[in-house]
Assembly symmetry: C2
Homo-oligomer: 154 residues x 2
DNA sequence: TTGAATGCAAAAGTTTTGCAACCAA
DNA sequence: TTGGTTGCAAAACTTTTGCATTCAA
């Protein structure tokens, strides 16, 4: 944890930004909720628990900064808010998501499943890929199970 | 064109909605701009050209309705607006996008490049896929060319 | 001391909602 | 008549911005 904070600190410094207490508090919240997909408001409320004096604008500015440095990725699942996701260390590309349309759960896929597809796109469309966003919408295991149970009891 | 309007009319009727003049005007704009990725505001302004009495709220409500019926897909490229894209007739899945980070151009890929990936996801993650969103961010041919030209003249 | 960073409040921008009026079956 | 649909305006939200103040090198 402290290691990751240190490395992020260095990343900021190398672009001549400072890791201020507010930024550190924001980064800590992101690290503590690595599995979640927090909105700016979510992050703000969580940071506020430990650092009540922080302002929402600062959170937005920090998230923007971290996105720019590719420490986090900004993503949108179609509800009106942007969400932020820590990029795994050393990951060349943004990971993929499985969004359950029944319960809203979001799972992550770390494996890069797009290598072949990207090769095709770069070759056939002459498009130089820098990043990608891949999200599957469907029904998670739990909700599939729930449905089966319901059908049996009917 | 009239054929497609008729089919959309039937789709609406089969869910007991009407194809009102305002809805038809909206659908026509979407058909006439199939290649574009219009925001609600874009659609509103275009519809207003021919039907000046229409309200923005009606456009939003129509786009929501068409999305629900899977006639159009709502998509978000990371600028603060939702955009709407006609689903190709008979297409099982939403098509993919190439967004140029230099000039903002958006190209579409009709081919379903995800068949293999979806098979893996359904098998390994036991996730029942209903839909997907795949967008590549990178540099389009034109902007690559522009960059090369710049480098040569330097 | 100086530029970067912050907090607050206001502003900007998108999307939704309440409601009276309208319209078609 | 009745329920769906519309237009308008207001409201609700998310995100950005202006500015005085604060902070750290």
């Amino acid at each position: 944890m402290e290691n990751r904070i240190d490395r992020i600190k260095k990343q900021l410094h190398s672009s001549s930004y400072k890791l201020t207490p507010q930024r550190e508090a924001t980064v800590r919240v992101l690290l503590e909720h690595e599995e979640d997909h927090l909105s700016a408001e979510d992050v703000y409320l969580l940071v506020k628990e430990k650092s009540p004096e922080i302002g929402l604008a600062t959170v937005y500015r920090t998230l923007e900064l971290l996105t720019e440095l590719k420490i986090i990725d900004k993503i949108n699942f179609g509800d009106g808010v942007s969400r932020y996701d820590l990029r795994k260390e050393g990951a060349a590309h943004f990971h993929h998501h499985l969004v359950c349309i029944e319960c809203g759960a979001v799972a992550e896929i770390e494996d890069d499943l797009l290598e072949d597809v990207e090769e095709i796109v770069e070759r056939d469309w002459k498009f130089k890929i820098m990043d990608h966003r891949l999200t599957f919408h469907g029904i998670c295991v739990k909700c599939q199970q729930k449905k089966e149970d319901q059908e049996q009891s009917e």
